[in-house]
């Protein structure tokens, strides 16, 4: 028992280490120019996104081969990913509600089918070339929530507090010191803001809140990655097994967070597909009758495994939703403002390789990349779109392609990326200051990063409100040179909509 209590400690330590690593990588890659090789480590270990992307693209993606480690681990020891590594799983293990702890009843076990059904639907859609539902991958959920909700809120809070305190002279040295550490490496200079952060935040809070109904509710009933690993765990070699001397004290069932211990009047058993190998039961057993040992036969079927009918149902749902998604009007008439990250030229190919993981939005130094709502149709829900008024594509940056785990955004060298045309700027002459209101302004031309300047100025003398002649320089876009980076639209000094707009054609 002591041995297993120690092992459990080690597991908790490992969880903390992986969670800390996840958070570290998050901040290490936010706002950094060159992405560390490790930036997408967790996604490369994730077999769900690897399987989905490879099925949808119908190619072997060597970058995602790291997922084989997770598969191997699962075939050996069961769902260790869920109990030891997954940062969302750890977070859900740490978020526990006092009310919940007093309750012993568990929810209807048939609900566990939902995750298998979801996983099956994702597979069917992936085979058909669609990855929309990968938005429900646990790592994608955590990355997205951190990127669009937690980090911006944190930055806002810290900056606001510091701004409030800064006028107090005696605090300035301390705040200066704090700023010199935080600003740049951890917190961005410009307050990040993301579309739909409220929706994303609500989903995140809901997932945490469901823990009030059952421990690790998400992992038990909903997680599609958990379902995939659960299926593999059915044939895993090492499993916790309850011996014959068990006296039915059911202590193990009480401590089991995913509720993997089945108690019936005759027997107490552990279901490998639901067990997260947390070792709590081994540490709890007074009789030391639970052993972690090799078993060479598949686990017994459960009432919540997918029935043939349900599997067919998942296929039907997948097919039907694909038909609906593909006949959306958005697919017929492309949205002119759907500016994709640099190097993405084929929208359909992009949709069938983007993991919806939000890594690109996390690393974009100008927060130009935003999650879509309906700009790309429902099929492209929560894929990255470049919104120039929010941020521009930095002429000196290639970060998004470096961190994209599936290669949906290609890895480009700086020279290659500078040749990539993501859109074209168009001057709105009815709003532009020199065109419309006899006011000098050349900010768009000044900002233009292309060596020959894609915006040229034409001098004109016009009369102002006092009938005085004013010389203004009116901007023209040379479409042959413009790469659509959007810095002109971003820095246009007009309030509200810019007088120069980037569109994809």
């Amino acid at each position: 028992m002591d041995k297993w209590a120690r092992a459990r400690r080690i597991r908790q330590g490992v969880q903390i280490v992986f969670f800390a690593l996840f958070i570290y990588l998050m901040f290490a890659t936010v706002q950094q120019r060159v992405a560390p090789v490790l930036a997408d480590l967790f996604f490369r270990l994730n077999p769900l996104s690897a399987l989905g992307a490879m099925l949808a693209e119908r190619t072997w993606l060597p970058r995602l081969a790291l997922a084989l480690i997770t598969i191997g681990l699962t075939l050996l020891f069961g769902r260790v990913w869920c109990g030891w590594i997954c940062p969302l799983g750890s977070l859900l293990e740490w978020v526990s509600f006092r009310k919940r702890r007093k309750k012993e009843t568990s929810l209807y076990p048939r609900l566990r089918t939902v995750k298998y059904f979801l996983f099956a639907t994702i597979l069917v859609l992936a085979v058909l070339g669609n990855l929309t539902l990968l938005a429900l991958d646990p790592l994608a959920i955590l990355t997205r929530s951190m990127t669009t909700v937690v980090i911006p809120s944190l930055n806002y809070a810290i900056t606001a507090i510091e701004k409030t305190l800064y006028p107090l002279h005696f605090l300035q040295p301390a705040l200066d010191w704090l700023e010199s550490w935080l600003r740049g490496p951890i917190l961005p200079i410009k307050q990040p803001a993301f579309a739909q952060s409220i929706l994303i935040g609500l989903v995140f809070v809901a997932i945490l809140g469901l823990n009030a109904l059952a421990d690790r509710f998400w992992c038990r009933y909903l997680c599609p990655l958990g379902a995939l690993l659960g299926l593999l765990a059915k044939v895993s070699i090492f499993r916790p097994v309850i011996g014959t001397a068990c006296n039915h004290c059911t202590r193990c069932a009480l401590v089991c967070r995913p509720g993997a211990v089945e108690v019936s009047p005759e027997t107490v058993s552990i279901t490998p597909s639901e067990c997260t190998v947390c070792l709590d039961c081994l540490a709890s057993c007074k009789k030391e009758e639970i052993r972690f040992q090799p078993v060479f036969r598949p686990a017994a079927p459960q009432e919540y495994d997918l029935t043939r009918r349900e599997a067919l149902g998942a296929m039907g749902v997948g097919l039907a939703s694909l038909l609906l998604l593909r006949t959306d009007l958005r697919n017929r008439r492309q949205n002119p403002l759907l500016i994709r990250p640099p190097g993405v030229n084929d929208e359909n190919k992009f949709l069938s390789s983007c993991l919806r993981c939000t890594q690109c939005m996390k690393i974009c130094p100008t927060t130009a990349l935003q999650p879509t709502f309906d700009q790309a149709g429902l099929e492209g829900f929560w894929t990255p779109v470049l919104v120039p008024r929010v941020g521009y594509c930095d002429y000196g940056c290639t970060a998004c392609g470096q961190v994209c785990p599936s290669g949906a955004i290609p890895r480009l060298t700086l020279e290659e990326k500078r040749q990539e045309v993501i859109g074209k700027a168009n001057v709105n002459k009815s709003r532009c200051l020199p065109w419309a209101s006899a006011t000098p302004c050349i900010v768009c031309e000044e900002m233009c990063p292309t060596p020959q300047k894609s915006i040229r100025l034409e001098e004109a003398t016009v009369l102002n409100a006092e009938d005085q002649p004013v010389t203004v320089q009116r901007p023209h876009v040379l479409r042959e040179l413009c790469i659509g980076c959007g810095i002109c639209e971003n820095h246009c000094p007009l309030e509200g909509e810019a007088a120069i707009l980037v569109a994809i054609y």
């Binding site: 120019r33 510091e162 701004k163 409030t164 006028p167 200079i189 930095d394 000098p440 810095i487 820095h491």
Partner: protein, 360 residues
Amino acid sequence: MVAKLHKVSRRRLSRREFLKLGGAATASALLAGCAGQAVSPTDTSIQAPTSLPTSLLETPARAPTQTLNPTLTSSAGTPEESPLPVTPTSANLTYLAVAHGSDPETITKTALAALGGIERFVKSGNNVILKPNICTDYNPPEYASTTNPTVVATLVKLCLGAGARRVRVMDNPFGGTAESAYAISGIAEAVKSAGGEMEVMSPVKYARFDIPQGKDIKSWEFYRDILEADVLINVPIAKHHSLARLTLGGKNMLGVINSANMIHQNLGQRIADLLSRIRPALTVIDAVRILVAHGPTGGSLNDVKQTNTIIASPDIVAADAYGTTLFGLTGADISYVKASAEMGLGTLDLNSIKVEEING
């Protein structure tokens, strides 16, 4: 024993105790905040600089004890006073130094030596800020869109050699993040090895300051440290700009304010207004390489001209006026140089001042 320790540390605050503590902390923070604000408007030590350094023989550095306050009213300043006490002929010291030569470090040192040495500007214990032009993270220094790193590093070394307590280098790039622009420009590495600090300009440290002498703009948001430093050294690179025609010392000061894009609608006067408040003690124009077209961003080596020159002067207007001659222009051709001269912030007339040209 371990179990006992565990019990002690497990004792939790009750909700009531927690709220009490929190309330007390908030109240004290608020009180402290009110106290700070109540004092500042009557603080007599706060004054806006209303004129150029009183004499070029004296140190142009601001008194280290001086503090600035964003809530300053314009009555604190005395804009009626003659804003130009600079009488170029009164000083025996060189007013403007120009050094030519192929080694950036040597010519920087030569120019400074001709002005009477960095000690004329930087005193022991001073808090010094260098403001180079690091506009984007697009191109390395060979493309002449960012200040030459050797020039910046040489100035850092000179300041530290004169006993400066702290030498910081900063800019607010418009393309890319500050960190990446600092790195690509080569300035980060050069400054660090010279013993200076790179500062990422924090959004926390901007505050609205009055511009008592401003003609078009009466107040703006400035980076506090720039106004509070003992010595501010302006280190622009000379390059092309389509609205201002050239970006030199005056335009380089747009990097220390918020919403710089809103300056462009009356660029000349607005830059002059800002300069009446910022007042760098020394302007060192990097013309080792200059960008003659497609500025301020550049990106083509065809637009870069090697001119191997450093221009230094405590008078930003005179330095800029000399800088324009490298492009075949005069100071009067550049709106902000002209407007600054008209406001009495310096002189355009290069014939009336003592200029020392050195070929090194």
